[in-house]
Amino acid sequence: MIEQAPALIVIIPLLAALLLIPATPLGPRFAYGLLVTALAATLAAALATLNLVMVANEAVHYRMGDWLPPHGIELVIDHLSGVVLVLVSGCALLTAIYSRQSAEQDNPDRLNQYYALFALLVTGLLGMTATGDVFNLYVLLEISALSSYGLLARGRGPAYYATFKYLVVGTIGACFYLLGVGYIYIMTGSLNMADLAEILSRPELQESMSVKIGFTLIIIGVWIKMALFPLHAWMPNAYSKAGTTTACLVAPLMTKVSIYIMIRLMFSVFSVDYVFGVIPWHHLVSWLAVAAIVVGSLTALAQQDLRKMLAYIIVAEVGYMVGGAWLANEAGLTGAIYHILSDALMTLCLFMAVGAIIYRTGKSSAAAMEGLFAKMPITAAVFVLGWFSIIGIPPTCGFFSKWYLISGGIEAGHWAYVAALLFSSLINAVIFFRLIEIAYFGNFATHDGHHAAPARNEAPFTMLLPMVVTAALLIMVGLYTSEIITALVGKAIPPGL
């Protein structure tokens, strides 16, 4: 049974989503239980697969329908995708536990259908990570994109309009990807990633203009999906208008999985030599990343809404990872991959904390932070810890990933990227102190500093538990950085970098 684990990672959430629809009469408790159980089983399957990969010390292949790879579809799970699978299923499980109150509050009438969308989004993300076929990746990209449109449209107020914009931009991104895959297919006749890599290494295809343009279109498509500056305009509005649970699920995972896809396509379908030797525009990307970091950080500084602020910080973080991956050295890519892990955890942590604040106060502006340490001490501690990681204070994992990214930047001699990273940390620290000031001393504009301490009103237990676990994971991952790097991330670095 253990060799079936790679397929189970994708199938369990899919079956859960399909079963949630006929299970509607059984009530919200059953739906919640089914979702949490299914995602726990998914996490177990992901851990078992990662264990298989680590024991064998090579990629695990799974043939769908028992067909040999270039004709059939295969799942390929190596060290990189194994880590991302565990990350995605773990974050999804934490969010599912967290959703007990907020999902019911946001969807009193259609909880089962909401949860079905939730499970399908997780299916899409896991499937994209596990697959070894570029067209299958597109199909699952569609699944995750469609279900995220549905989830985001369930948000409050102008969510429909923000989601509609996302739908248009996201569809354009998917089209770019599909068009690129089309060109590659015409030139190679294959869709399997390993087969493609072999065919594309032939000298006549290395110089082919169609393949170069196919690569460019695919990468642009993925950039639109991950909201890399200047293709990020859809993202902050869509994320900040979303329901609490939706934001916790979509914000940390969608962009990170897109980054994973970019790295996978760059180094598993194409090669280090191709990307950094043949593609003429590869050195421009790190400048795009610098622009993303600077613009994202500065815009975040100008925001009043907590979630919009976080969304712009994600724009900057996407810049970190894209820059690291395109620095063309080992430290940079290590930092980028490790940052997928740490950034998913810290954005999850912060979105959960902000979600709890919104749940209790009903406000999402910075003013909701007022008196936070007295009202919600645990949430406040989690919030502070998450923000420490965003700034990059040891021993949180944010410090270590940033360390690798900066050393990658120094190694490549890309001083603007290093400066942008430090600048972004500084801005994050400024935002942090501004929020802490509001939390401790209240908003000076409305108060004169003399008011009774507000009563304690902590978030409910099902919200606190995943928050505390995530915050603990931030420190744990930080403390075990060297083990994670040598055992997992280091093995994911392609040879020749």
């Binding site: 079936q4 397929a7 199938i11 899919l14 079956l15 399909l18 079963l19 629809i21 006929p22 799974y62 043939r63 769908m64 329908g65 028992d66 067909w67 270039p70 004709h71 059939g72 579809i73 009193p108 009438d109 259609r110 259908q113 909401y114 079905a116 969308l117 399908l120 299916t123 499937g127 067209f135 299958n136 199909v139 699952l140 569609e142 699944i143 469609l146 279900s147 449109y149 549905g150 449209a153 369930r154 429909y160 060109y183 297919y185 015409i186 030139m187 190679t188 006749g189 294959s190 065919i199 082919s208 203009m209 169609s210 343009i213 196919g214 460019t216």
Partner: protein
């Protein structure tokens, strides 16, 4: 802004033309797309799956994993439209469409025509679905024809008449049920000790050869696709025609 759009469009067109420069010729038998994998499909598909229509064999068996998710995409479309549009009971009285045609369905000609056409349509839909192994057809096409027969019923009579015969709850169950049948067949193969969607696992249950079991497996998943597509067509029509409140409409 409009000028910028034009510039971007022109740049895209230029890139497409550049990319077309070294693409293989139309219908070139030596092109990679027709020389790399296709011969393998053409030569082996019949022997391995006992399905004369190679397209069906590739769609539902070799790449059945993709097709399963395409079915889920169709299901998602209905689910999302429902979750966005369909009214909740306590908000029933806020109308989206203020001017809505009142249809009593008294038109004898329309009703008579519908009575003649609909049964034929439904039988034909089943034929298209079942005949996918031999000719163009299969679950997607058959499901669309079947779904269209219900829409025709709603157009010629009225929405309420159709909903009374095909309740919204059943429609939703069919939407999920078809995809569930597909994934369930795959999971059954997995439970029998083969890989997910390895229909050859059904040979033991059905008492036929492995290639024939693959053929039967293809039929089973095509039925699943057909159910989902049919129900999704009907569900989307219900939602859009009544503005989401399921009472009246076209």
């Amino acid at each position: 802004m409009k000028r910028l759009t034009l510039i971007i469009l022109a740049a895209c067109a230029l890139i497409m033309l550049l990319a077309a420069s070294d693409l293989p010729d139309w219908a070139d038998p030596a092109s990679p797309a027709s020389s790399h994998l296709s011969p393998g499909f053409v030569e082996q598909a019949y022997e391995a799956t006992h399905t004369p229509n190679v397209v069906t064999a590739v769609l539902a068996d070799y790449r059945g994993y993709d097709t399963m998710f395409e079915t889920v995409v169709v299901f998602l479309a209905a689910l999302i439209i429902m979750i966005i549009l369909r009214r909740t009971p306590h908000r029933r009285f806020c109308k989206i469409l203020p001017h809505r045609p009142q249809r009593q369905g008294r038109d004898t000609v329309l009703k008579g025509a519908a009575q003649l056409i609909i049964p034929v349509m439904q039988v034909f839909a089943l034929y298209v679905l079942g005949h996918g192994h031999y000719s163009p057809g299969g679950g997607f096409q058959g499901g669309v024809i079947f779904g269209a027969s219900f829409i025709l019923l709603a157009l010629c009579y009225n929405l309420e008449f159709t909903i009374n015969r095909f309740r919204e709850r059943i429609v939703l169950l069919c939407c999920a049920g078809g995809a569930l049948l597909y994934a369930g067949v795959g999971a059954l193969c997995l439970a029998m000790g083969w890989n997910f969607l390895g229909y050859a696992a059904l040979a033991g249950i059905l008492g036929v050869s492995e290639a024939m079991a693959r053929s039967h497996g293809i039929l089973l998943v095509e039925v699943g696709v057909g159910i989902t597509v049919m129900a999704v067509m009907v569900s989307i029509y219900y939602d859009l025609a009544s503005g989401g409140d399921m009472r009246e409409g076209l």
